[in-house]
Symmetry: C2
Subunit: 305 residues, 2 copies
């Protein structure tokens, strides 16, 4: 059944078409800021370019899966989540944090500009996400307003001190220490899982999904999120820096506990495959509108960057 | 007439009572986060303590001035704005920015914790502001939901890349350079004016102010905001570090263009007094419910910290 869904589906075309349209929207949101300022330049430098756009694509694909159209609010949620993901990368790359010099194949924001500008550009992208989420509402659409507030709350919670930011705190605290598999999974559920899960949940909500559909997509998202992280760890060991657009081997240098370290490479690959299978099982209640989500699940572990 | 309004009004009691209640609310919002985590500790350390709470008090006082009660949404807006103000201080104090070691009489966040924690605690306070603004809505209150969305948009715009953050960029760019009075005023309108103005505007909106009242309060706020900054510059020259809770004389060291530098101390004092008078004139359409706002206008230039 799963195979049937995937067959005849051109994921590469789907992803590139979605990326093109996401980039278009992100660019138009940025155009509303000071385009000629150094701050605006640093925001654009970090946000535009060769991102995978996994989170916004998951958001849009989840809305499609439940039969929802591409309404303006889904697009805003998708773009806001990508802005938040990008700001987190800009701040994580700072010298006081991971001190990375390469991201998405380019010098990181603080290398290209300076530290202060990178901090402020990150702050501004985070703030812009909430401006985008609260703007452009058609007058009198009460239902839409309520869903917008729900989406703002979901995104703020996932991105905040009980979600992504706490995950980054734990990630830094774990450097040079041996942590066990449970602690590693909890860390990733916060650091990357929460926002990925929220991307899918926002799409499901805004697409008008039933409770059963939203529940199934939540299961899908939690497995995809973990599989994504396991694959990230594997790519940090055996990935090609040219394709990845960032340095590899950094986890070993930082003495980080990763899935390859705790489980070994082969068992990590198997674990990622199991997670993807579980994600695919959760999609069995959907018809072929969920084809993009099934294909994305495969992509998550097969990707080279 | 103005004097009549101020007479018999105990501003000191009003401010301390409001501060107590603001601190109580801020604390309860923090309790919802991980209280035992280092991140939660750093957020609490920065947010709680001896802040003037000018912005949330202005928000609450503006709601009172237009005859609005203290509803939950006004309190959330007031607290969210204070969280955003605090995060901006935490980030501005970082070594890559103003590199300050003392704030509100205590070591700054990155000194007490570390740089990475300070960056993330700032991010988390900014994010929490939007969680607070989107949470706790009573079911079925459509009007309230619409006003919440408006408030989120107003705050995000004031705090973002066309407001406070752009102001901080310009402030740093102006260090060691001579800028003229117009550029200095534009810088401050962004860096501190936008959020102060939004605090008043949110209070006016959520208190149910008429268009005329909201307009008058906007005029009040823009003059208060500028007077506040002029006084800040004066205090940086002649303030008492013990009372201020932070270093003074730093503007000279950083070769910053300030009002005392551009106008001289005495003319700066006169300018602040003119601004406060203009702010008071804008309040003439209000009855004695605006007494706190009149008193706060006087306080802005008479304060010692």
């Amino acid at each position: 059944m799963i195979d049937e869904k995937i067959r005849n589906f051109d994921l590469k075309h789907y992803l590139s078409e979605k990326r093109r349209r996401i980039d278009e929207r992100l660019g138009s949101f940025l155009d509303c800021s000071f385009p000629e300022s150094r701050l605006g330049e640093a925001m654009r430098y970090s946000l535009m370019g060769s991102g995978k756009r996994l989170r916004p694509i998951l958001c849009l694909a989840a809305a499609e899966a439940v039969g929802g159209g591409e309404n303006d609010t889904v697009w805003r949620a998708a773009c806001a989540i990508e802005m938040i993901h990008t700001y987190s990368l800009v701040h994580d790359d700072l010298p006081a944090m991971d001190d990375d010099e390469l991201r998405r194949g380019k010098p990181t924001c603080h290398v290209r500009f300076d530290e202060a500008t990178a901090i402020l550009a990150g702050d501004a992208l985070l703030t812009l996400a909430f401006e985008v989420l609260s703007s452009g509402l058609p007058a009198g659409a009460a239902d839409d307003v309520c869903r917008r507030i729900d989406v703002i709350k979901m995104i703020a919670m996932a991105a905040g001190c009980r979600g992504m930011i706490e995950g980054q705190m734990r990630d830094m605290a774990a450097e040079g220490k041996k942590i066990d598999l449970n602690a590693l999974m909890a860390l990733h559920a916060l650091k990357t899982g929460a926002l990925i899960q929220t991307a899918v949940a926002c799409g499901a909500l805004l697409g008008g999904g039933t409770q059963a559909q939203c529940g199934a997509l939540e299961t899908y998202a939690s497995h995809i999120g973990l599989a994504f992280q396991v694959t990230d760890d594997i790519l940090n060991v055996e990935g090609d820096p040219g394709q990845m657009g960032k340095a590899v081997g950094t986890d070993v240098i930082r003495e980080k506990s990763t899935y390859p370290v705790l489980l070994g490479l082969e068992a990590s690959r198997q674990y990622a495959a199991i997670l993807v299978n579980k994600a695919l099982q959760a999609l069995e209640i959907f018809d072929n509108k969920a084809r993009p989500l099934t294909a994305i699940a495969e992509y998550v572990i097969e990707r080279k960057r």
